[in-house]
């Protein structure tokens, strides 16, 4: 059966202090959303506008957001799309305590809190012998946060996808795919900044119609190796595509941005980062209009 992502997903970057426009902007957002109710207000309004999908990484603030959704009775109205692992957190810990220190810390943490929930496949010594099981255990640890939610798909972070693509690590990608399907009954998804390379590699690895979140914007920002190559891969490839960075990280105005996105063929969904109710209303009204226009045009 064809997997169909929600046509619009709420992004999470703005809620966790991330801005790809500038770190200054990120810090402003970090302050604004330190009160989780502010994020909750934007999410609740989006749900009232018919948005059902939400991306969320396992940033420390994710737990607060998820708790809020539960408390407000929004949890079951939404489809969650976890983005794992929380790569930047790992990089910082790795810089602070080293690679093995980080692995030990993560596994140690999980086994203390949630031994029963996770099949840790035995001791660290055993894990050391098997990279794929280690990756599976990492996925399970990150997924604990989402256990009371509807998880429609699980996205692997671009840091890992792009590394796997460059290394040609097909087996690892397949093992993530199997694990997500088997253990969570969810669709495996892949975030990438190298869309044409992904289409080519996945075809070689025998992965059919993958769910891919990747950059599409009229500025060509982060579209590697070129905007044209990405558009061609979209046309010729057989992927279910969720467009991200559609505003090129806040650089484009929504009207011109969505004119471009909905002029493309085969975009199944867009992920949208909105920070205020006013901004949400404006953005979703433009998206609705452009989507309907694209649907009419066939």
């Amino acid at each position: 059966m064809r997997f169909e992502p929600d046509p619009v997903m709420l992004g999470h970057n703005q809620f966790i202090g991330v801005s790809h426009l500038s770190q200054d902007a990120g810090r402003t957002r970090e302050e604004r959303f330190s009160d989780v109710a502010r994020a909750g207000e934007v999410i609740a309004y989006s749900v009232s506008q018919g948005v059902r999908g939400m991306m969320l990484s396992t940033h420390p603030r994710a737990r607060d957001i998820l708790d809020y959704l539960k408390a407000e009775g929004l949890a079951l109205e939404m489809n969650m799309y976890p983005l794992i692992p929380y790569a930047q957190g790992y990089v910082r810990r790795m810089n602070a305590v080293g690679l093995t220190g980080m692995v030990r810390e993560i596994l140690g943490q999980a086994s203390l809190k949630t031994k029963a929930d996770i099949a840790l496949y035995g001791s660290l010594g055993y894990l050391k012998r098997d990279l794929r099981r280690l990756l599976g255990a990492f996925v399970d640890i990150e997924m604990l946060l989402f256990k009371d939610f509807n998880v429609k798909a699980v996205f692997l972070h671009d840091a890992f996808v792009d590394l796997s693509l460059a290394l040609g690590a097909g087996e690892e990608v397949l093992s993530f795919s199997d694990h997500v399907r088997r253990r969570y009954g969810a669709e495996p998804g892949f975030v990438t900044m190298n869309f044409p390379l992904l289409v080519r590699s996945f075809r070689e690895w025998g992965i059919e119609r993958p769910l891919v979140m990747t950059t599409f914007n009229s500025a060509g920002f982060q579209m590697n190796p070129s905007r044209e190559a990405c558009e061609r891969a979209l046309e010729e490839g057989d992927a279910s595509v969720v467009a991200m960075s559609t505003l090129a990280a806040g650089y484009l105005r929504p009207a011109e941005a969505y004119d471009y996105v909905y002029s493309l063929p085969k975009i199944d969904s867009v992920v949208v980062g909105v920070s205020t109710v006013e901004h949400t209303a404006e953005t979703f009204s433009i998206i609705r209009e452009r989507r309907e226009g694209a649907a009419r045009a066939g």
Binding site: Q23, R92, N95, L163, A166, N194, N224, S226
Partner: protein, 341 residues
């Protein structure tokens, strides 16, 4: 089409893995061997890239493989030793920054590279970030006039507990946030303003027992401006490492970070901000940062055409001489003259 350059990688930490992945994906180069001490890491790599020969010892790798170029991405304390062994065998090298633990340690590398006609590059990757490159062009044009004064920082929110690993041991890192991280900022300042004559520096530790967590310095450039450098890995609110340089020039001012470049001109009162989106150039493969792909491509092109790389050993020396003087100044609590290598 010319043949692929056969390359080896020494050390599979974060940067080793990033370079390995990029080199594996781009044309014109093939990684045929990797040396890495940790068995777990070798094993993981073996299952991903079965065609690459794995060694626990880099000397055995150099002895057994027919390589043309080596990427040295081991902890800083090993850089000079590995670089020397490679250069003595006539191999081209890419060394991650910083070049070594001190200038004295690295002093013999440049003559060795020159004597063996080797291409040698140091991984000062900020040269390959669009905004910093654009700032260099603007500073070279006449419109802003002579730079008079600057302030600059490099911060990341990384260390708020006691750190562990080679980065926090003086004998393996050569120093703390200055040598490990802020050498990127020193490199940019040297690229923009030329040679430094004198420095005055203060350091402070709180989380690290052996190395500095905070640096505050004043740099006086020989024929350029003077100004301040602040660096720390224990500042809150910096999810990613951030460099910011603000320059006051005769006819205006310029501010540059990884994300944007802003300048004002007194002559016509104009002000302009260029975001990285304005300056964006795609790369053949993206792994963790476009600048890594660009610097690897630059190195491979230089190896093929036997050109001197933009960030060569002289560039590594320049940074080393300034950081040496900064550490000396902090220790002696006085102004110190920079001695060129």
């Amino acid at each position: 089409m010319s043949e692929d350059i056969k390359a080896g990688v020494v050390g599979l930490g974060k940067m080793g893995v990033a370079h390995l992945a990029i080199l594996n994906a781009i044309d014109g180069v093939a990684v045929v061997a990797v040396a890495e001490k940790q068995r777990l890491v070798r094993k993981a790599l073996g299952s991903v890239l079965p065609g690459v020969n794995l060694y626990s010892d880099y000397e055995r790798m150099l002895g057994s493989e027919d390589l043309q170029a080596v990427f040295i991405t081991a902890p800083t304390a090993l850089h000079v030793r590995v670089a020397q062994d490679c250069l003595e065998r006539g191999l081209d090298i890419f060394v991650e920054k910083p070049l070594g633990l001190s200038g004295a340690e690295a002093r013999h590398l440049a003559p060795l590279a020159a004597g063996n006609d080797a291409v040698a590059m140091v991984g000062y990757c900020k040269h390959f970030v669009e905004t910093f490159r654009e700032a260099k062009c603007l500073l070279e044009q006449e419109s802003l006039g002579r730079p008079l004064y600057f302030s600059s920082h490099m911060y990341v929110s990384q260390l708020f507990t006691v750190g562990s690993g080679w980065r926090y041991k003086k004998e393996s890192s050569g120093g703390g946030v200055l040598n490990i991280l802020a050498t990127h900022l020193v490199d940019l300042l040297l690229w923009y303003f030329g040679d430094v004559s004198k420095v005055s520096c203060f350091t402070r530790s709180h989380y690290s027992a052996e190395v500095e967590d905070f640096v505050h310095a004043y740099l006086d450039f020989e024929e350029g401006p003077s100004g301040s450098l602040d660096a720390s890995w224990s500042v809150r609110g910096y999810r990613l490492p951030e460099i910011k340089i603000e320059v006051q020039c005769e006819n205006g001012s310029l501010t540059v970070t990884e994300d944007y470049l802003k300048y004002n001109l007194d002559t016509d009162g104009s002000s302009r901000t260029l975001y990285k989106q304005d300056l964006f150039e795609p790369v053949e493969v993206y792994v963790g940062g476009a600048e890594y792909t660009r610097e690897d491509r630059h190195f491979i092109d230089c190896v093929k055409s036997r050109r001197t790389p933009e960030t060569d050993i002289a560039c590594g020396y320049g940074v080393q001489a300034v950081t040496d003087a900064m550490y000396a100044s902090a220790e002696a609590a006085r102004l110190v003259e920079v001695v060129p290598l």
